[in-house]
């Protein structure tokens, strides 16, 4: 009983102990905040990666794509052993390209960007991943489409008229023919209307460029981050890529129908989704695809077996079967490694708290020499005296952890408000949005990590109080009673 009593009294009366509590509290709070932010980044990144990449991807290095048409490939997959585990499959064509467009209006500067051109069936693509949740206009649409809205069409028409006016202004007036020589047996001039009658009207194809491709961000003279729309819905973009059969340049024009905003700069700056059939037509690979995006019914349970089955189904050198995690493996591993290193480094703060406990406890034991002697004279055992100081360390660690956890959770909860206040105070962005493309600092509190941090900090507090506690226990009562 005396151990509990004295632990509690020492905690209340030894103000020096608050130094230990504050040290443990700061260490625990820092670890919780950093882990929550790192985990938030990691989770959000994984969500985004997984959203844009389907569960499993079967793709080929062949420029012309798979030899078989997509319907045959999909039927083959669904009929295979992995079939029952698959929820949806959609074909895509993926190729690198150069995209050109006039920024802002038809007379604007010509912008050229390297992009990753992806031909998709939008409804099918939405079925295999969280694709539509990243579309700006058609957000969360179950079956998004490349169709243009009336406003987009109106802008397209206006742009067309503007270009025509510009061409007319720039055109050199032709001199009237000096004297037309008309041969008596020459055929009559062609009738354009009669020639085009019955021919199909040119179809307009939509595109979903990445948000960062369509919006230019820069810092103005005042040092403020400015975002300007370079591509409005209805604006035309021209993409140039290589043909499917031979390495020859091919190009096509698309009209912006929507934007893709994943908040992942890598994707938002390079992805351009276009209709699958149009990209096939441009590249001369009609009826063929270069990749199959697959969604599983239960990803975690079936990823290994489905990947193995698909590898058996496509045993070709130029065909790869990967999960989305395999594709982004190095990035995900880098995040985990970074998190681990950061945890080790930050745990040193708790180590420092441990040393402050060691120093302060050594002082307290020296100060309590006579009291220890009295307690032993009254019948306290050496083990009991040791327990007082170990219990004291445990109590300091527990109180420090409790306060640190509360502080850490509060900071995590209000991290964006704190960031805004710090940015206002220092005049410098603590979390630049143009770097991360996240609206807010993402956080994710994992109760297991909070528990682990607390357990670690309490263990450090107890371990560092071991030496002073052992010294107190070894103290000879007679020497202690004579101590002045």
């Amino acid at each position: 009983m005396y151990k509990l009593l004295l632990c509690g009294r020492y905690l209340r009366t030894r103000y020096l102990a608050f130094v230990c509590i504050v040290s443990v509290m700061l260490g625990v709070a820092t670890l919780i905040v950093v882990n929550a932010v790192m985990s938030g980044f990691s989770t959000k990144l994984k969500d985004r990666l997984h959203g844009v990449l389907s569960d499993v991807v079967v793709d080929t290095d062949n420029l012309a794509g798979f030899a078989d048409p997509p319907d045959v490939l999909m039927a083959k997959i669904k009929a295979g052993p992995a079939g029952p585990k698959i929820a949806a499959v959609t074909p895509t064509v993926e190729v690198f390209a150069i995209m050109q467009f006039r920024a802002g209006h038809p007379g604007g500067p010509l912008i050229t960007k390297p992009v990753r051109l992806i031909g998709i069936d939008p409804a099918g693509r939405a079925a295999v991943g969280g694709f539509s949740e990243y579309l700006v206009r058609q957000k969360d649409a179950p079956a998004p489409s490349f169709d243009l809205t009336a406003d987009a069409l109106a802008r397209y028409e206006a742009n067309k008229r503007g270009r025509e006016r510009e061409d007319a202004t720039l055109a050199v007036p032709e001199a009237p023919p000096a004297q037309a020589i008309r041969l008596p047996d020459a055929p009559p001039p062609p009738d354009a209307a009669a020639m085009t009658a019955g021919m199909p009207v040119a179809k307009l194809y939509g595109a979903f460029p990445g948000y960062a491709l369509a919006h230019l961000r820069y810092t103005n003279e005042a040092g403020k981050l400015v975002e300007e729309t370079a591509l409005y819905p209805g604006d035309a973009v021209t993409v140039t890529t290589v043909g499917g059969e031979t390495l020859r340049p091919v190009s096509g024009t698309f009209l912006v129908a929507d934007y893709l905003k994943t908040e992942m700069s890598e994707y938002d700056q390079s992805f351009v989704y276009v209709p699958l059939e149009q990209l096939q037509a441009i590249r001369g690979m009609s009826g063929r695809c270069s990749a199959l995006q697959i969604k599983l019914k239960d990803y975690e349970a079936d990823k290994a077996s489905v990947t193995a089955e698909l590898q058996k189904l496509f045993p070709y050198r130029d065909v790869r079967v990967n999960t989305w995690e395999d594709q982004q493996g190095p990035l995900l591993q880098a995040i985990d490694v970074e998190r681990g290193i950061l945890n080790i480094l930050l745990f040193l703060i708790v180590g420092v708290a441990g040393f402050s406990i060691l120093a302060i406890f050594t002082m307290i034991v020296s100060e309590k020499y006579r009291d220890i002697g009295v307690m032993k004279a009254l019948g306290a055992s050496s083990g009991g005296v040791m327990s007082i100081f170990l219990g004291y360390g445990l109590l300091l660690g527990a109180v420090g952890c409790g306060l640190g956890t509360a502080l850490g959770l509060w900071i995590t909860e209000h991290i964006n408000d704190i960031e805004a206040a710090l940015t206002k105070l220092t005049g410098r962005a603590v979390f630049p949005r143009d770097v991360y493309y996240f609206k807010d600092i993402p956080t994710n509190i994992d109760p297991a990590v909070v528990g682990l941090v607390n357990a670690g900090a309490v263990a450090v507090a107890v371990v560092f109080s071991l030496l002073p506690a052992w010294r107190a226990a070894r103290l000879h009562p007679v020497r202690a009673l004579r101590f002045e």
Binding site: L5, D371, M375, L378, G379, A380
Partner: protein, 241 residues
């Protein structure tokens, strides 16, 4: 009742050995109020520590009711100090973090686990309250040691020593830090405890005036009992103190 047989004890500091007790023999009878006097360094406090199992002798033995107690395992010696012996020190040694009541209750806190204390706390509190009333501190239960006078501190220490109904009270110069009147008051209190409760008291002192109140006086010199005087007269004088 309490017997020291051929007790030897030396303190070593660096390479120097200082002998303190050199084969001392002493028999303390049950219910006796024994005072031990002697010059500084004669080994009085060491004898008290050895009798109360606070220290272990280099040679010889200590017996309680015929049972050897100096070689008991640590747990047995801790239990003896908690229940059989009560200690009163010259500098009171109350714990500064606790109030008077909690200081007096400390032997009971030590004796019990948290659960055991919870079950028996009412009885212990009542006993501590009675003892504090008896030593005249019934109105000072909630006061911290720093708020008490020297005499009050020593009376609280006596109450603490009596809490577990010990058979032997070992007092190491209990009046050494008090003025004459307060010292006399403490000795009167010890005498009353000895007579009313039958507690055997071994008191080490330098003050010859107070030994008259005791049943027997032992003078120590050279680590041995030099004189042993039963029933000292009121104006008793030792030969060589």
């Amino acid at each position: 009742m309490l017997r020291a047989e051929n007790l030897r004890k030396a303190y070593r500091r660096h390479a120097v050995t200082v002998p303190v007790l050199n084969g001392l023999n002493l028999d303390v009878r049950a219910g006796e109020f024994l005072s031990v006097v002697g010059a500084s360094g004669s080994g009085k406090s060491t004898l008290l520590h050895l009798l109360g199992t606070l220290d272990a002798p280099d040679g010889g033995a200590v017996y309680l009711d015929g049972r050897r107690i100096d070689n008991l395992p640590p747990r047995g010696r801790d239990a003896l100090r908690n229940k059989t012996f009560g200690y009163v020190f010259q500098f009171y040694h109350l714990l500064p973090e606790l109030n008077t009541l909690d200081n007096v209750l400390m032997p009971a806190y030590i004796a019990h686990s948290a659960v055991g204390w919870w079950r028996s706390r009412a009885g212990w509190r009542s006993r501590a309250g009675e003892l504090l009333e008896r030593v005249g501190l019934g109105h000072r239960l909630a006061h911290r040691p720093r708020e008490l006078s020297g005499g009050e501190l020593q009376r609280a220490a006596v109450a603490r020593a009596l809490l577990t109904n010990p058979r032997v009270l070992l007092a190491d110069e209990p009046t050494g830090n008090l003025d004459a009147d307060t010292g006399a008051e403490i000795v009167r209190l010890l005498r009353e405890i000895n007579r009313q409760d039958g507690v055997t008291i071994v008191m080490v002192t330098h003050n010859l005036e107070i030994v008259a109140a005791t049943d027997r006086v032992v003078r120590m010199a050279g680590g041995l009992v030099a004189e042993d005087h039963p029933k000292p007269a009121p104006h008793f004088q030792l030969m060589a103190v």
